[in-house]
């Protein structure tokens, strides 16, 4: 069948999205946007899991993605609560000004 999507393309898209997420964590100083970049990296990994799940004809990969989404929801709630607490103490969300644990 000529019409199907090659597995490589999906994996390449996943790789590119993951790299863009890593770039976001590195170049952004706004902690909320860094957090969004982490979400992007999680999504890139999820795409690869769904692609392999389909290639193997095995649903376990999709179930891992389902649990990853559950954990991402919990992680975002906790992370944003930490950001709010941080903002209350420091009045900033610039990570370069939050250096208490840096030697």
């Amino acid at each position: 069948m000529e019409g199907g999507i090659p597995l490589n393309w999906v994996l390449a898209l996943s790789a590119i999205l993951f790299s863009l997420g890593a770039l976001g964590v590195l170049i952004k100083r706004n902690i909320i946007v860094m957090f969004m970049s982490i979400e992007l990296m999680l999504n890139a990994a999820n795409i690869a899991l769904v692609a392999f799940s389909r290639a193997h004809g095995n649903l376990d990969g999709q179930i891992i993605v389902f649990f990853t989404m559950t954990l991402a929801a919990a992680e975002v709630a906790i992370g944003l609560a930490i950001i709010v607490a941080l903002f209350r103490i420091k009045r900033t969300i610039d990570v370069d000004r939050v250096t208490l644990l840096k030697w």
Binding site: G4, L20, G24, D94
Partner: protein, 168 residues
């Protein structure tokens, strides 16, 4: 052919949204670009036949999680000088080089793994009942642990966001 073209369009949309998220200096714009990218990812799940995950992606990610992000951005109501310099000038080049190398390595790995192929029939959707049967039999323990983690997260958020006693 049609599927391939649709995939390329959606993939370009996702990558464009991600680049827009990194390029915009306003966090609200970043969040909206990320919502667009997450919608594109949901479309890719649909193209891969994972229709339940596509729906969950839209409801949970594009709906709940991104609304939470936007809510916090607007709740903090930051002034311009509280964003910080953006993007950071000092190690900008190194970050770009590192990311380019990472992308080259990952994409070439993706290009090499050709032994696996998608099944021939395009667009066979996953049946939700098969998914549910697996979750409630083989992965039941993981399901219970996930519910526990959500409970802990809920309690944790309340504890973290509560004002300390006697404070303002």
């Amino acid at each position: 052919m049609v599927l391939k073209s649709v995939f390329i369009l959606v993939a370009l949309g996702a990558v464009g949204g991600a680049i827009g998220m990194l390029a915009s200096s306003n966090p609200v714009h970043s969040a909206l670009f990320l919502v667009w990218t997450l919608f594109c990812v949901a479309a890719i799940y649909l193209l891969l036949g994972a229709e339940f995950l596509a729906v969950v992606q839209i409801i949970v990610y594009a709906g709940a999680i991104m609304v939470l992000f936007l809510f916090i951005i607007m709740l903090l109501n930051l002034r311009r000088d509280e964003f910080g310099p953006d993007p950071m000038p000092s190690h900008w080049g190194w970050s770009l080089i590192f990311t380019a190398l990472l992308a080259v390595v990952l994409v070439s790995v993706a290009g090499v793994s050709v032994a696996l192929k998608f099944p021939e029939d395009p667009l066979t959707l996953t049946s939700i009942s098969d998914l549910a049967r697996l979750i409630f039999t083989k992965h039941l323990l993981a399901f219970e642990i996930a519910s526990l983690i959500l409970l802990i997260a809920m309690v944790g958020v309340v504890v973290l966001a509560k004002r300390p006693k006697g404070g303002a």
